[in-house]
């Protein structure tokens, strides 16, 4: 039977985990590879690295992280952050990434999604969408794409954008609610369901997880194929296994292999 995925996400800056990871005894809580190994052992279904390195010169540090992770972890790894060219994708895939996630480059140049999918296949091209609810006077709410960590509005409708990038070859959507990110109030379920129901590819729900019921809701009510979370796992509040067992109790099909 096909299972729902639980995906921990590690924010990496200059080759180090932002804020560290403290759910097991790690020699170095800031080493992304140690964290990846621990999540692999804990039964995570996939792992996502989000590279938030600001300078171009330090971009190489993520490649080293991916390479070392691929030597030690035999699980699917997605890498996002700063992916702008076909060459960026090629070097990440060759270093051992299975999928790359494209964010602002897909907003500024849609054709890039097509070029990437044609070159490497739909299955490894994830488009990361950061969306924010916009209330219009006299009209219904809608969600717009925001870039630069939610600061810049683009005016682009998130549902239409998702459909467009999928038609161009995106094999998966990583959907983050900028309203909920960091709030621990749960996913924006309405947004998640809107997007998940309007594209034929899997949608990963992200942004706002504060407890295990939120993970259940993302799949059951938001129709997401996978759920992504960071802090609830990194600081030992819940283990991957606890999350999955909770989801099983809620009736969701989960992989409990270790």
């Amino acid at each position: 039977m096909f299972k729902v995925r639980v995906i921990p996400c590690l924010d990496v800056k200059d080759g180090r985990v932002v804020k560290g990871v403290n759910f097991v005894d790690l020699r170095d809580a800031g080493d992304p590879v140690e964290a990846a190994i621990a999540y692999d052992a804990a039964g995570a279904d996939e792992l996502t690295f989000l590279d938030i390195t600001a300078t171009h010169e330090n971009r190489g540090t993520i490649l080293d992280v991916v390479r070392r992770t691929a030597e030690a972890c035999f699980m699917p790894v997605t890498v996002g952050g700063g992916v702008r060219t076909v060459d960026d994708i090629r070097t990440l895939l060759r270093a051992g990434a299975d999928k790359v996630s494209i964010n602002s480059a897909a907003v500024s140049r849609r054709e890039f999604v097509k070029e990437a999918a044609e070159k490497f296949g739909d299955q490894c091209i994830v488009v990361a969408i950061d969306a924010k609810r916009v209330t219009r006077a006299g009209g219904s709410d809608r969600w717009e794409i925001f870039t630069h960590g939610g600061r810049n509005s683009t005016g682009i409708d998130a549902v239409e954008f998702a459909q467009e990038v999928v038609s161009l070859g995106a094999g998966e959507i990583l959907l983050t609610s900028m309203d909920r990110d960091g709030t621990r109030q749960g996913f924006d379920i309405e947004l998640t369901r809107r997007i998940a129901d309007s594209v034929p590819v899997p949608v990963i729900a992200s942004g706002g997880v504060g407890n295990l019921d939120h993970l259940v809701a993302g799949v059951r009510d938001g129709h997401a194929s996978a759920v992504l979370a960071a802090s609830i796992f990194h600081f030992g509040e819940f283990s991957i296994q606890q999350a999955k067992e909770h989801m099983v109790r809620a009736g969701l099909p989960m992989r409990l292999d270790l």
């Binding site: 096909f2 035999f74 699980m75 034929p200 194929s225």
Partner: protein, 216 residues
């Protein structure tokens, strides 16, 4: 003893090589893992591995761009009966034809076409991306002692096309995704998995180590 992993420009080469190295390390007489573009090394290898991600036609083109490679693989596997392992598109290339975007000839080791999966349940997404259990249909040394079936271990899939084999006997395991999806094919000394053993954690490594021990 050597295992040749064919480098024809496919993206996931590094992961595949590392997984085979890890599986080999656990063996009594570890085999040497060689990543190569050289048909001569493939011809002389004791085992041959063809990884692959991307589109069928693009992968076929990559393989053909290595002068003499298809011939070397065919002679090693078909004439010298060396064990062969095709992964994902590497497995699909074992078919007669691929029908992704355009119709492209495969190696024709397994009679059948590579066709788009069509789950009956329209809520199921394509690609088939994630973990699924395997339903064993036939015994095979590479599956020995692996817990399969609905309560068994999971394998990691990421694909939109699968090998629709003409002969049921060539399919040794399948997955269910709104209908049957071909998961493992095998014929003579060749085996191929639609899923990625190099990404399937402990289960994947156990399967790779069975392959490395296999003496057909």
């Amino acid at each position: 003893m050597s295992v040749a992993i064919i480098d024809y420009g496919s993206g996931n080469l590094h992961s595949a090589a590392k997984a085979f190295e890890r599986a080999a390390r656990g063996m009594e007489n570890p085999e040497k893992i060689v990543v190569t573009r050289d048909p001569d090394i493939v011809f002389r290898a004791d085992r041959v591995v063809l990884p692959g991600v991307g589109a069928f036609a693009d992968c076929r083109k990559g393989l053909d761009s290595l002068d003499g490679m298809v011939q070397a693989m065919t002679e090693a596997v078909r004439d010298k009966a060396r064990p062969f392992f095709g992964i994902c598109v590497g497995m699909q290339l074992m078919a007669t034809r691929g029908k992704e975007y355009v119709t492209t000839p495969g190696l024709d080791w397994i009679s059948g076409d590579v066709e788009k999966i069509a789950p009956r349940d329209e809520n199921l997404k394509i690609p088939h991306m994630g973990w699924n259990t395997l339903e064993p249909l036939r015994e095979h040394p590479v599956l020995e002692r692996l817990p399969l079936g609905d309560k068994g271990r999971h394998a990691y899939f990421v694909h939109s096309y699968h090998l629709n084999a003409t002969n049921d006997a060539d399919v040794i395991a399948r997955a269910d995704y709104g209908g049957p999806v071909t998961a493992i094919v095998a014929k003579d000394t060749a085996i191929g998995t639609q899923f990625h053993p190099e990404k399937s954690q402990r289960f994947g490594l156990a399967l790779i180590s069975n392959f490395l021990k296999w003496k057909p």
